[in-house]
């Protein structure tokens, strides 16, 4: 009996830290989302308005636009990063010094500060002196008149580019670890039986990689849905509202316009979206495993 209760005492210090910094703000924000509160007008929380903030969000055209923008960003960034990450992991899946060295170098973008990444790429894509601008235009892949962050399609492309540059190493790291757990004997046996490399990938490697892939997809999706720092530094949601993702919209409502109740409701809608996505992933991917 004492041994069972001992466990609770051991986790108590961690709970005492976790509750005020994590649980309390979550509960408080949830409560706030049911109130009308403009901080410019009053320091005290306003009236209880029920689901009015949530209803407002669902009919708000700005919310709809930013939700769509977020969808586009998440699907493209996660899709491209998974494919690229898998491809590069397969290429580096050899036990040689050179391959190990490359894996270590590739992790560098992932460990850099996102705000620094945003500022750096802003300079790299500057149409007057940016190195990336020069390189792309030199190859005649794009016209000379393109202003990367001033064009709606290119601004999203630049945002995706920087995100892919930062997060693909994370995919490589996770998927390499997953690949190393695929039994070599299975691959060898398949090879002896005449399976091509594509068949090996499709029928052996990928099915065995699903648990790892699931983890990578879930983590990257969460980060992509919440993405704020790069868009804040690179585009501020512009041009117009072309890159205004949900996190940036929520930030504006809460910390520029100080509509605290509405911003809390937006934040919780983001949480609901994430819960739905993660549940979907888990059901699809882990049902396959079973």
């Amino acid at each position: 009996m004492w041994k069972a209760k001992q466990g609770y005492f051991l986790i108590l210090p961690a709970l005492l830290v976790l509750i005020p910094i994590s649980i309390y703000p979550l509960v408080s924000t949830f409560r706030l989302s049911f109130h009308e509160w403009n901080l410019f007008k009053s320091k005290s929380m306003g009236l209880f308005v029920g689901f009015a903030n949530y209803k407002r969000a669902l009919i708000d055209p700005f919310f709809q636009t930013s939700a769509l923008t977020t969808c586009i960003f998440v699907s493209l960034s996660v899709g491209i990063e998974v494919c690229l990450g898998l491809g590069i992991s397969l290429l580096l899946n050899k036990d040689k010094i050179f391959h190990k060295f490359v894996k270590r170098i590739l992790i560098i973008p992932f460990i850099l500060c996102p705000a620094l990444i945003g500022y750096s790429w802003r300079f790299f894509f500057n149409p007057e002196f940016g190195i990336m601008d020069y390189l792309f235009k030199s190859t005649a892949l794009v016209g000379r008149e393109v202003v990367w962050l001033g064009d709606k399609r290119w601004a999203m492309a630049v945002l995706l580019f920087t995100d892919i540059w930062q997060w693909t190493p994370f995919m490589i790291l996770i998927l390499s670890a997953g690949l190393s757990s695929v039994p070599r004997e299975l691959c060898d046996a398949a090879g002896i039986d005449g399976a091509s490399k594509i068949q090996l990938l499709r029928f052996i490697i990928i099915p065995l990689l699903i648990p790892t892939l699931g983890v990578a997809l879930i983590i990257k999706t969460i980060y992509s849905v919440k993405m704020f720092d790069k868009v804040f530094v690179l585009t501020q949601g512009g041009p117009g509202r072309a890159t205004e993702v949900l996190a940036l919209y929520t930030y504006r409502e809460g910390f520029i316009f100080f509509h605290m109740g509405y911003a809390a409701a937006l934040a919780y809608l983001l949480v609901i979206i994430l819960i739905v996505l993660v549940t979907l992933y888990s059901r699809i991917l882990y049902r396959e495993t079973k």
Binding site: S42, E128, L149, G150, Q236, G238, P239, G240, R252, I256
Partner: protein, 442 residues
């Protein structure tokens, strides 16, 4: 009486007279302390925290703080914030109310937002006549619902900076109208490798909505407005469309802007001028020290300043903005803070900084008409006073942050190719929704 006695008597009278005169001068000096600060140092030993945004003008004030500290015995600590994050820092500190700052850098368009959290300075200004020497518009901009909530410190009107050397070489006059800007821009592009005018249509920061600073005087200059008398947004009418066509036309129709204009903010465009890539840059005169700084500019001594261009046969209109100093309600050193504000905003300090070449910011009437300052800067300050009299400020209302966000996104959309009427109609609809939610319409 012998001659000797007469000389002694005269000498004695001279000495006494000199002493009386000297005492009266000292006494006079003691009743009129420098900068109108309290003479007996009643706040000596207090320490105040001052939140300012990073700028040449405020840095110049900081350099002279030892002067204030000697005169008052008040210690000053400066906390600096980049302008794009000043709004958040300011609002968080004011709402927190824990007396973190004693003086804060406010902006005229934020006065209404911060009205519940800053001290009404009317009583202080009524008592202290020294701080009434402002153009009427500036005190109005720092007031909300009849209360004076900040004292103007840095006030700006709009001008156009232009490459005087190139204009002279090509036989061009300083542009007086927007049509002159286009003519000059095209001539310059045909004859040099510079771009005509560095405009800035980008959406760069949530609070620094630079991209409509020139659109607004174009709208007002034509007789247009953002709202009508019933607070209905009307900037999508014929006047609004014409003003917007002219504004965006520099880039889309006349093609006299640098390629980066679509994404530039005010500072990015200023750098295009400072680095000798563009021949004109329109906006606030505060950029003068940037263009005169050899470490940051290649156009030192090569540029001129002219009043902001206008529409042909229409009166000139310049936007006016003011950075002002407020005292948070939570400050525990309000009176010491007021002493600082008086000193930092004083005519004497302003003049000192301008003559030293460290600032060009002048907003006290005495300085705006000062012959010495105007001679040094070719009557720039007289032109500024005229702009204060003829111009106007952006709307000051608690909803302005949201509305300016709509306007900024709209300008950015138009610059990226959205049809003007469609974009303005949508912006008017969004603005109406904001006003409706705020309870302006029944």
């Amino acid at each position: 009486m012998s001659t000797q006695q007469m000389y002694r008597k005269f000498g004695g009278m001279l000495i006494v007279g000199t002493m009386i005169f000297a005492l009266s001068v000292v006494g006079y000096a003691q009743t009129e302390p420098p900068f109108y600060l309290k003479s007996d140092k009643p706040f000596a030993g207090e320490e105040i925290n001052v939140l300012l945004h990073i700028s040449d003008a405020f840095r110049a004030v900081e350099k002279r703080t030892s002067q204030f500290e000697k005169l008052t015995g008040i210690k000053v600590n400066y906390i600096w914030a980049p302008y794009p994050v000043l709004h958040e820092k300011l609002i968080a500190a004011l709402i927190g109310g824990k007396g973190k700052y004693d003086v804060v850098n406010n902006v005229d368009t934020w006065i209404s937002e911060t009205a519940n959290y800053t001290v009404n300075l009317q009583a202080m200004i009524d008592e202290d006549k020294s701080v009434q020497d402002y153009p009427e518009i500036l005190l109005k901009m720092c007031s909300f619902e009849g209360k004076l909530l900040a004292l103007p410190n840095r006030s700006h009107a709009q001008f156009i900076f232009y490459r005087k050397d190139i204009f002279n070489k090509l036989g061009l006059e300083a542009p007086d109208t927007w049509d002159d800007v286009v003519k000059a821009g095209k001539t310059i592009q045909q004859n040099t490798d510079l771009k005509g005018i560095a405009m800035y249509y980008g959406r760069v920061s949530p609070t620094a909505m630079h991209n409509f600073f020139i659109w607004y005087p174009m709208l007002r200059g034509l007789g247009g407005c953002i709202f009508d008398e019933n607070m209905e947004p009307i900037f999508n009418n014929e006047i609004g469309v014409k003003a917007t066509e002219r504004y965006i036309g520099f880039m889309l129709k006349d093609k006299i802007t640098p390629i980066g204009s679509v994404a530039f903010d005010e500072y990015g465009a200023a750098l295009s001028f400072a680095h000798g890539k563009s021949a004109m840059w329109p906006n606030w005169e505060y950029a003068y020290p940037l263009f005169q700084d050899p470490e940051r500019s290649t156009v030192v001594g090569k540029f001129g300043v002219a009043p902001l261009p206008k529409w042909k046969n229409k009166p000139r209109f310049s936007s006016v903005i003011t950075h002002a100093l407020s005292i948070p309600l939570g400050s525990r050193h309000k009176e010491a803070a007021w002493e600082y504000i008086k000193w930092a905003s004083s005519a004497a300090l302003q003049k000192e900084l301008v003559l030293a070449g460290e600032s060009i910011v002048v907003n006290r009437i005495a300085n705006l008409v000062d012959p010495e300052l105007n001679t040094k800067f070719n009557n720039l300050f007289k032109a500024k006073l005229e702009s204060f009299r003829m111009g106007g400020s952006l709307p000051s209302m608690p909803e302005w942050a949201e509305i300016s966000n709509v306007l900024s996104a709209t300008i950015s959309d138009i610059a990226s190719g959205m049809p003007i009427k469609l974009a303005l109609d949508k912006a008017v609809e969004d603005t109406r929704n904001i006003m409706k939610r705020a309870g302006y319409y029944k």
